[in-house]
């Protein structure tokens, strides 16, 4: 139950963030989404058995190793994607805006903050 709630929370927060404006929040949302999906993958193996899957000894309570291997791969790939997204966030004209300027400048984040010259 707690795991399900955790995943739901991470999912909701992640989706909320990727639907906002600005690359940085999209990245944060993406990170939270990967957490949710990775936990969901682990959950797909069942959560009743929680011993680490190592060979030898009593494996009657060992967790399913296959989802773990998938998730390990997924984490590293998600890191790569995050890094690429971060790069795009850092090359904008003025900031990491993702939408055209339909709003007035006053609506933007930091009023008066200027590029160092």
């Amino acid at each position: 139950m707690s795991l399900a709630l955790t995943i739901g929370l991470l999912m909701g927060a992640g989706i909320y963030l990727v639907l906002q404006r600005g690359m940085m929040r999209i990245i944060f949302g993406f990170i939270l989404l990967t957490h949710a999906i990775n936990l969901l993958l682990i959950a797909s193996g069942g959560v009743a058995r929680r011993d680490a899957p190592f060979f030898g000894g009593d494996t009657s309570q060992a967790a399913d190793p296959l989802p773990q291997a998938f998730v390990l791969t997924a984490i590293v790939i998600a890191f790569s994607i995050t890094v690429v997204m971060a790069t795009f966030a850092a090359i904008g004209r003025r900031d990491d805006d993702t939408e055209p300027d339909s709003l007035t400048p006053a609506d933007l984040g930091d009023e008066g903050e200027e590029v160092r010259s």
């Binding site: 139950m1 707690s2 795991l3 709630l5 955790t6 739901g8 999912m11 909701g12 927060a13 989706i15 909320y16 990727v18 906002q20 404006r21 940085m24 929040r25 990245i27 944060f28 939270l32 957490h35 936990l39 969901l40 682990i42 959950a43 797909s44 193996g45 069942g46 959560v47 680490a52 899957p53 190592f54 060979f55 494996t59 060992a62 399913d64 190793p65 296959l66 773990q68 291997a69 390990l72 791969t73 984490i75 790939i77 790569s80 890094v83 690429v84 971060a86 790069t87 966030a89 850092a90 090359i91 004209r93 900031d95 805006d97 055209p100 709003l103 609506d107 984040g109 930091d110 903050e113």
Partner: protein, 950 residues
């Protein structure tokens, strides 16, 4: 064999065009002519009913699709038409094309001959799929030949393509249906299948589809409009594709399927009805036109209507008549089109309102037109006369109630009378003073036509004259055609048939009908000026072309409107809609299977609730705060909480990886954070509400989905296998690691490639675009304050890094070595090593002091190369990436169980370390020097100013 020869002609002619320009037409003509003769010689083998010549080369054996070729009487007839008329048109083109601009001619001859190749393939194909391929190839050739004749041709070309391609789809459906039902791709076998009799619905469906395909190709009502539309193509193209050959592809298809479909009610009614409607409609439209070529186009539509109707009758005699008529039409219509081209070239216009007195100036041209025209009108003793006689006879005897025969014959007579009338319009309008209209308000400049028009050269005339003369000879000598038409008739009917056409068969009903037509026709011609006034009125306020054009623009507009829904750079719409849809699916799933509530585990450890609280405590504020830095810290915290979750669920390696990745993610993001505003962009309240609603729905659905998953109590079969067999299979004990490097090494190989590619993308992007400038650090301290001295302030961390970083790197190597047995492995050890490097960076007092200047490009490459080499070595013992294992005796006793999976893991290590160093260097801005920063900032402000003023 023949197909190959046609292709050779294509190549030779293209080469010849480059060398000798338009005269290459002669080369092509010679080639096609020789092939036509070869077919005629070979034809004797297939003229006996039922005998065929066939060849087969496998193409896609698994689908039983092969280059099966088969020549029977029907194929022979069409081949002779395609190749013979092709040769004439090529010879004609040699004079028709202008002497300049050789490049255009290369394309012209290539497409024309490619078309000849496609038609040859079509009539020879004995494989349903092959048949379809060649069918579409003719469509494509037609499109390109129309399209290349100037800018105004592109719209008609597209319309033609749309209509004919639609028919192609119908044929594809039919082909698929037939293959599925009869279980064979061989045309002759499929047609002989007993499924046609057994399954009426199937037969009817195929009949409709094949009829539609043929109707689009042969320009039958209501698909007729593309043919007049396609007349923007050069005249030789029209003569060949749109009169003699391509439009006959539809006729061929109908005849080909006749053995299976003839006699079916659907087939009969569709073909006879549309055929006769088209015959009359085309003829009437031809009477309304002024452009000779357009008249020809409608005439072709009308004539094809006759053939389609007679095929619909479906008796062996009717089918043989269809074959004869096809040949006759190919001869006279090719001649007529070529004549129109000659008139156009010599007089400079094709408008009958302008053409006057050409009968005297161009006697040979006139004679040719007269011969061909009379054949079309069905005048004794030309070939067209014989064909029309038997056609009317066939219509009068459809094998149903008596009134039906009378009605069909009457309609046929009506259409034939109209044919007579428009033939007269061509002859009188084109060569005498008749103008085809009584209106005097025509704005056309009647003086545009030069006063002195001269006869064309013999070389130009000969190709047109030849088929016209053939029509004259073959009429009386109809007996010569008996073997060919008989064989074609038997092939189409599927039963032996001997042709008995005769020029004069006594005083029969047909003769009476012919005389009626001629008398009626003469009356109409004498009353032509009065009739013209009737026909000039528009019947409908729109034309069929308008309808096609509306459909085309309408579908494009609809597509644009659909596209407009998502035509935005903003990610919110693209990402939001799928989640809304997923939420709907989830809701539906809950309604259908409302069992999630029963899946709540009663016996979960109390620590789980603590972990949830931990995640909630970091995640909920993350969505609420407006400061970038705060959000980053909170996201990092959430990552750690998730890592603990992994540990709690027994995923030790995953937890370790998560912990380290989270660390490095935060470091990487901090690097760019100082280039961004402190606060997030503000969005409208409405958007916040909508996105929050979507997020809540998705979160709810995800929770339920997880409950459904976690209800599982047993381990999966494959999981159990790993637990039992891992040591035997791999010699390893850490199952997750062995899955990564032994069982699913290819997966991991793909992954490390992704990692390396990500690093390369970062480098490539930052190699072309500069980073945003750094923001002013608003430190409220004077320059002299200790806080402003970055070098001194970073001293402690540098000292720590100096001593611990080497230890961390060594530790990472240890983790790498033991990964097979204990928690560790390539990813974890590389990430641990990378944190060591990150520590160096945190201690650096300025951007340009990059602590680690390793050539990370080389590291990417070496990571992948090491992995590939391990994989290749694995091929020695079985397959790519298969681990090699042997024991190395240790000097202090015992032995080390070596496996090449360790080397593979080393490749992973390199790639991951490289990407982390690359990110730290690139995003950290180490590339930039201080001077450049100032320079760039100035430039960007200037650019911004320019944009504002613009």
């Amino acid at each position: 064999m023949l197909l190959g020869a046609t292709l050779v002609v294509v190549v030779v002619t293209m080469a010849a065009t480059v060398a000798i320009g338009r005269a290459a037409g002669w080369v092509a003509a010679a080639g096609l002519g020789a092939l036509a003769v070869a077919v005629a010689m070979r034809a004797s083998e297939v003229l006996e009913p039922g005998s065929v010549v066939s060849e087969s080369v496998p193409w896609m054996p698994t689908l039983d699709i092969a280059l099966r070729l088969r020549l029977d009487g029907l194929g022979a007839l069409f081949l002779i038409i395609v190749l013979g008329i092709g040769a004439l048109v090529m010879a004609y083109s040699a004079r028709y094309l202008s002497g300049r601009d050789i490049h255009r001619h290369t394309g012209y001859y290539a497409w024309m001959l490619l078309f000849a190749f496609a038609m040859t393939g079509l009539v020879l194909a004995d494989d349903l799929v092959l048949l379809f391929v060649f069918w579409e190839l003719t469509t494509l050739c037609s499109f390109f030949l129309i399209n290349r004749s100037g800018r105004k041709a592109s719209a008609p070309a597209v319309r033609t393509l749309l209509v004919t391609a639609m028919g192609g789809l119908a044929l594809l459906f039919a082909v698929v249906l037939i293959i599925a039902r009869t279980g064979t791709t061989v045309v002759s076998e499929a047609l002989a299948s007993d499924a046609w009799q057994a399954d009426g619905g199937f037969t009817a469906a195929v009949a409709v589809l094949v009829a539609i395909a043929a109707m689009t190709k042969s320009a039958q009502f209501p698909f007729h409009m593309w043919l007049p539309d396609a007349m923007v193509a050069p005249t030789p193209v029209s003569a060949y594709l749109h009169a003699a050959a391509m439009v006959k592809a539809g006729i061929y298809l109908l005849l080909l399927f006749s053995p299976a479909l003839a006699g079916t009610v659907v087939w009969q009614s569709i073909l006879v009805t549309t055929g006769l409607i088209t015959a009359i409609m085309g003829a009437v439209f031809a009477l309304r036109r002024f452009d000779l070529k357009e008249i020809m186009a409608y005439s072709t539509v009308s004539q094809l209507g006759f053939i389609v109707a007679i095929i619909g009758i479906g008796t062996p005699g009717a089918l043989a008549t269809a074959a004869l008529y096809t040949l006759g039409h190919a001869l006279f219509k090719a001649a007529l089109f070529m004549v129109v081209g000659i008139v156009d070239q010599q007089a400079g216009t094709r408008d009958i309102r302008l053409l006057r007195g050409l009968a005297r100036r161009m006697p040979v041209t006139f004679a040719t037109t007269l011969l061909a025209g009379l054949s079309m009108a069905g005048i004794f003793p030309l070939l067209g006369f014989v064909a029309k006689e038997y056609l009317l006879g066939g219509l009068a005897d459809p094998g149903g109630p008596a009134w039906l025969g009378v009605a069909l014959a009457a309609t046929g007579v009506l259409a034939a009378t109209a044919t007579f009338a428009y033939t007269a319009r061509i002859l009188l309008g084109g060569f005498t003073d008749y103008r085809g209209t009584e209106r005097v308000d025509d704005t056309l400049d009647t003086h545009r036509m030069p006063q002195m028009v001269s006869e064309a050269s013999p070389a130009f005339l000969a190709p047109a004259l030849a088929p016209a003369l053939a029509g004259l000879v073959l009429g009386p000598a109809i007996v010569w055609l008996h073997p060919l038409t008989g064989a074609a008739g038997s092939a189409a009917a599927g039963e032996p048939y001997t042709a008995t056409f005769a020029l004069f068969a006594g005083f029969t009903l047909e003769l009476a009908l012919s005389i009626t037509i001629i008398v009626l026709g003469l009356v109409v011609v004498s009353q032509r000026r009065r009739l013209d006034r009737v026909f000039e009125r528009r019947i409908l306020s729109f034309t069929a072309i308008d309808v096609v054009e509306k459909m085309r623009t309408g579908s494009i507009a609809l597509g644009a409107r659909v596209g407009d829904l998502t035509r935005t750079d903003g990610q919110a719409l693209h990402l939001g809609v799928p989640w809304i849809l997923l939420g709907i699916i989830a809701a539906a799933a809950i309604v259908v299977a409302p069992t999630a509530g029963a899946l709540i585990q009663p016996d979960e450890p109390w620590t789980d609730a603590v972990l949830f609280a931990l995640v909630a405590a970091t995640v909920i504020p993350t969505v609420l705060v407006r400061s970038r830095l705060t959000a980053l810290v909170l996201v990092g915290g959430a990552g750690f909480a998730v890592a603990i979750w992994f540990f709690a669920l027994g995923a030790i390696d995953v937890g370790l990886t998560q912990l380290l990745v989270e660390l490095l993610t935060v470091v990487a993001l901090v690097l760019i954070l100082r280039r961004l505003p402190r606060r997030f962009h503000r969005v409208s309240r409405q958007r916040t509400i909508v996105t929050a609603a979507i997020a809540l729905g998705a979160g709810f659905a995800a929770t339920l989905a997880t409950l459904a998953f976690t209800g599982r109590r047993e381990i999966s079969a494959v999981g159990q296998y790993f637990l039992d067999n891992v040591y035997i299979d791999t010699g390893g004990e850490n199952i997750v690691n062995t899955i990564l490097v032994d069982y699913r090494a290819l997966d991991t190989f793909g992954e490390l490639t992704v990692v390396a590619v990500a690093g390369i993308v970062v480098m490539a992007v930052l190699g072309t675009r500069r980073l945003i400038g750094e923001r002013d650090v608003a430190l409220a301290v004077p320059e002299t304050s200790a806080l402003a001295r970055s070098h001194d302030n970073t001293m402690p961390i540098r000292v720590v890094a100096h001593w611990t970083a080497p230890v961390i790197v060594v530790l990472s190597l240890y983790l790498l070595l033991r990964g097979h047995y204990e928690p560790g492995g390539g990813f974890i050890s590389a990430l641990v090593g990378a944190t060591g490097f990150a520590l160096f960076y945190l201690g650096a007092s300025a951007d340009r002091l990059a602590p680690v200047r390793w050539p990370y490009r080389g590291l990417f490459a070496s990571g992948i190369i090491v992995a590939v080499l391990t994989g290749v070595a694995g091929m020695a013992v079985g397959s790519f990436l298969r681990p090699i294992r042997f024991d190395i005796p240790l000097p202090w006793g015992g032995e080390y169980a070596f496996t090449s999976a360790l080397i593979f893991d080393l490749g992973v290590y390199f790639a991951v370390v490289a990407v982390v160093i690359a990110v730290l260097n690139e995003l950290g801005g180490v590339r930039e020097r201080h001077g450049e920063i100032v320079e760039r900032a100035k430039r960007s402000t200037e650019r911004a100013r320019e944009e504002v003023s613009a």
